[in-house]
């Protein structure tokens, strides 16, 4: 005689932030329901009210310590629009350059520090060694190289832009300082080295990791959804600016200007999560997490971006995308492919940063336009590592914030994460049989999204 019980995975680990999983088993020991509880609520939408708009980029970056540059820049874009100011070209380019380097650094962090242990040490290994410390002990030379490359990228940002975590260097109307020719040279040299490491990483993963996990890729956490991401006017993936592309699971899509985002996106409030679950309101089908028939569900982050993009704007990344599409098609739905897509984007980010550092205009001393406080509304958007990041502010005549709304990259994936966890739990836990390795595999379905 068995009885219903709930398995609690708390906290979900090797992710950024606070979440737990509750898996409810029925009296036969099979999964009746799974819920992911997203536990964080800080109230940024409220407490920025009354603050001078130009201060927001230095407040809202605290939403996330892993991707503060993206909040910093989305906020700056929103404030520029509220005040009706356009940064000069070099100011725009410096913002985009640092954002691109931050993207490159973030992907190394996720792949090696958070995710790799599940693949390199193995999903069923003891938890005491199934982590970056275990990876470092097993592969000391690789660990040293990873740490050096990430450090190089972070110190590059700190040396040029003052603060790497919780940045300050993008300002209303542009950037706080110009780049000298000397800065340009050492940063270019550094980025070329990180690019070589990005190439090494994707080759290593394609040869030594992904082939071993093809079964898991085909099954673990697989769901069928739409996707969201930013593309440029030619349809190429763009991390900094462009139009938003919202793709359905069948591959059809609509492009829209982010200023109109409220016409396309809604947020559902589930009873079990402080975090709201965004959905595609414009599909007019409502919201449902049903695994067989989801409604309104789309995904963000790496796999989403390479799915919605027609192509990559740089040659090495384009070659990688073509190889990926040959294998997995478009749109690719398998959740663990987020890792593969992440490494393709890593190549792109490095190539694009090098391109920008080779552009002589990046050292133009005119980096900031003057602004005046005024009443207005502005929506600012960039692609954060975890997805399309939207900051929407209104200001009064004195340039103080009267209203703010934010849709943060990771939140687009909260519904899909809940679905992937439910799918993984249902397929792995049968007739009451569950062990630590199985519970870790359920978490791997979360980690792929790098929330």
């Amino acid at each position: 005689m068995t009885e219903t019980r709930t398995i609690k995975i708390s906290p979900i680990t090797r992710i950024e932030g606070h979440a737990s999983i509750a898996i409810e088993l029925d009296d036969a020991g099979n999964v009746a329901d799974s819920k992911v509880h997203f536990q964080s609520i800080r109230g940024f939408e409220k407490f920025v009210e009354g603050k001078p708009a130009e201060e927001l980029p230095r407040i809202v970056n605290r939403i996330c310590g892993i991707c503060p540059w993206h909040h910093h820049l989305a906020a700056n874009k929103a404030v520029d629009r509220c005040f009706g100011v356009t940064p000069p070209p070099a100011g725009q380019k410096l913002r985009e350059l640092i954002q691109t380097i931050a993207q490159a650094e973030d992907k190394l962090l996720h792949f090696f520090f958070l995710a790799a242990a599940d693949f390199v040490i193995g999903p069923d290994a003891d938890y005491a060694v199934r982590n970056v410390i275990g990876v470092a002990k097993a592969n000391p030379d690789l660990a040293k190289k990873v740490v050096q490359m990430r450090y190089k990228a972070k110190m590059m940002i700190e040396k040029f832009a003052g603060k790497a975590i919780h940045p300050v260097a993008a300002v209303t109307g542009g950037f706080a300082k110009a780049m000298t020719e000397e800065d340009r040279k050492w940063m270019l040299e550094g980025m070329r080295e990180i690019y070589d490491f990005a190439r090494f990483t994707i080759d290593f993963a394609k040869k030594d990791i992904f082939p071993k996990y093809m079964d898991a890729i085909a099954s673990l956490g697989v769901i069928n959804t739409g996707f969201i991401g930013t593309v440029d006017s030619a349809g190429a993936l763009n991390l900094y600016d462009g139009k938003i592309r919202l793709m359905k699971a069948d591959g059809s899509y609509t492009d829209f200007d982010v200023q109109d985002y409220t016409d396309y996106l809604g947020e559902h409030v589930p009873s079990w999560s402080y975090g709201k679950f965004p959905y595609a309101k414009s599909w007019n089908e409502g919201f449902s997490l049903d695994l067989d028939n989801p409604k309104g569900i789309y995904r963000s982050n790496t796999l989403a971006r390479i799915n919605v993009a027609d192509h990559m704007a740089t040659p090495a990344a384009q070659a990688e995308l073509e190889e990926f599409r040959q294998l997995f098609g478009r749109p690719a739905q398998a959740t663990l492919l987020y890792h593969y897509a992440r490494l393709i984007e890593e190549v792109y980010a490095c190539e694009h940063a090098i391109e920008m550092l080779e552009d002589p205009e990046i050292t133009d001393p005119n980096v900031r336009a003057e602004a005046e406080p005024k009443a207005g509304r502005g929506v600012g958007c960039v692609e954060a590592p975890r997805g399309t990041l939207i900051h929407d502010y209104s200001t009064d005549d004195n340039g103080l914030i009267t209203r703010a709304n934010m849709i943060v990259g990771t939140t687009h994936n909260l519904g899909p994460i809940n679905m992937s966890v439910d799918q993984a739990a249902r397929s792995l836990i049968k007739e009451g049989h569950v062990d630590e390795g199985i519970l870790n595999k359920v978490e791997m379905a979360v980690r792929a999204y790098d929330p």
């Binding site: 708390s10 603050k51 970056v132």
Partner: protein, 308 residues
């Protein structure tokens, strides 16, 4: 034997943990010297046992507990109390843990007002009730760590510089108390101060400060406060530049906003700054608001909802 370390993040953003990772190769040295027994950012130890069947939240014993983030819900409080019980010494890592940090700006409102806005934004569907199933209930306000548990070592900064994180860990392992800067940001700032200015008013940071260009060394630039920009340097604890000393924001030609918290542990950055402005003949009414002066240190009852 390696020292055992437990670490957790509470009402936090993970920036402090990334600052630990940003120690670079020193991280590998640290990993050789300490054994992490709980570290949700990087390893899989669980609160309720590895199979999730424990009745109570439980931590392993450790020599040192490192806690980032403030306390805002019942789980944060439970973790803090359990870590205090199981750890020999507690480090409050980062300004959220030491003074409340940016999330303590929420202390200017009651929870109802915050929740009302969050669940009624222009994109949010109407909902009947605030989510309550399986999520930890909120406490009334955001508290710094020492409002709830005893703290042994304070390591402010948003985030703390990796040099200081490493220095503090190294000192702890040698059985010493970490030595942290006790001066103000101004005391470590290389810009030129010419004494009391004649500015009278402050302007908002909507134009660049004056300096000759990116090539000009920082010590040739006039103090940003003396240029009429609000800079919280006089009332903010030094240290943000790490071993390189130069304040991080100033090196980007941007004024300080106070992220290391007050110079004296119990100081009030807003009051101290208003006094500093007054003694220099600067009218604080030239600023659009001054609540933001407490943006990093709104714990300890410094920020409260307005009385109705």
């Amino acid at each position: 034997m390696a020292a055992k370390v437990a670490s957790d993040w509470l009402n936090a953003c993970s920036g402090c943990e990334i600052a630990i990772v940003d120690m670079g190769e020193r991280l590998l040295t640290v990993l050789d010297l300490v054994e992490f027994v709980h570290l949700p950012a990087l390893m899989d130890h669980k609160y309720y046992g590895q199979m999730g069947d424990g009745a109570h939240l439980s931590f392993p014993e450790a020599d040192l507990g490192i806690i980032s983030g403030s306390i805002k819900n019942e789980e944060h409080l439970e973790v803090a109390l359990e870590m205090r019980k199981k750890c020999g010494a507690i480090i409050a890592l980062g300004t959220c843990a030491t003074h409340g940090g940016i999330p303590a700006l929420a202390n200017s409102w009651a929870n109802d007002a915050m929740l009302e806005r969050y669940y009624s934004t222009e994109t949010t569907d109407a909902c009947d009730a605030v989510p309550a199933d399986g999520v930890p209930p909120l406490l009334e306000n955001v508290s710094a760590l020492d409002e709830k548990i005893n703290v042994d070592i304070y390591l402010p900064g948003c985030p703390p510089h990796p040099d200081q994180v490493f220095g503090a860990l190294a000192a702890f392992l040698e059985g010493k108390t970490p030595e942290l800067p006790t001066k103000s940001v101004c005391d470590t700032c290389p810009t030129q101060r010419e004494g009391k200015g004649k500015i009278g008013k402050l302007r908002r940071f909507l134009q660049a400060p004056q300096y000759k260009g990116a090539d000009e060394p920082l010590d040739q630039m006039r103090c940003l406060l003396e240029q009429g920009l609000l800079c919280m340097g006089p009332v903010t604890r030094a240290g943000c530049g790490g071993d390189g000393v130069v304040p991080r924001c100033i090196s980007a030609r941007v004024p300080c906003r106070g992220c290391y918290g007050p110079v004296q542990p119990g100081g009030n950055q807003r009051l101290d700054m208003l006094n500093a402005l007054a003694s220099n003949g600067i009218d604080p009414a030239s600023l659009p608001e001054t609540v933001s002066m407490l943006r990093f240190s709104g714990g300890h009852g410094m920020l409260k909802p307005a009385r109705r």
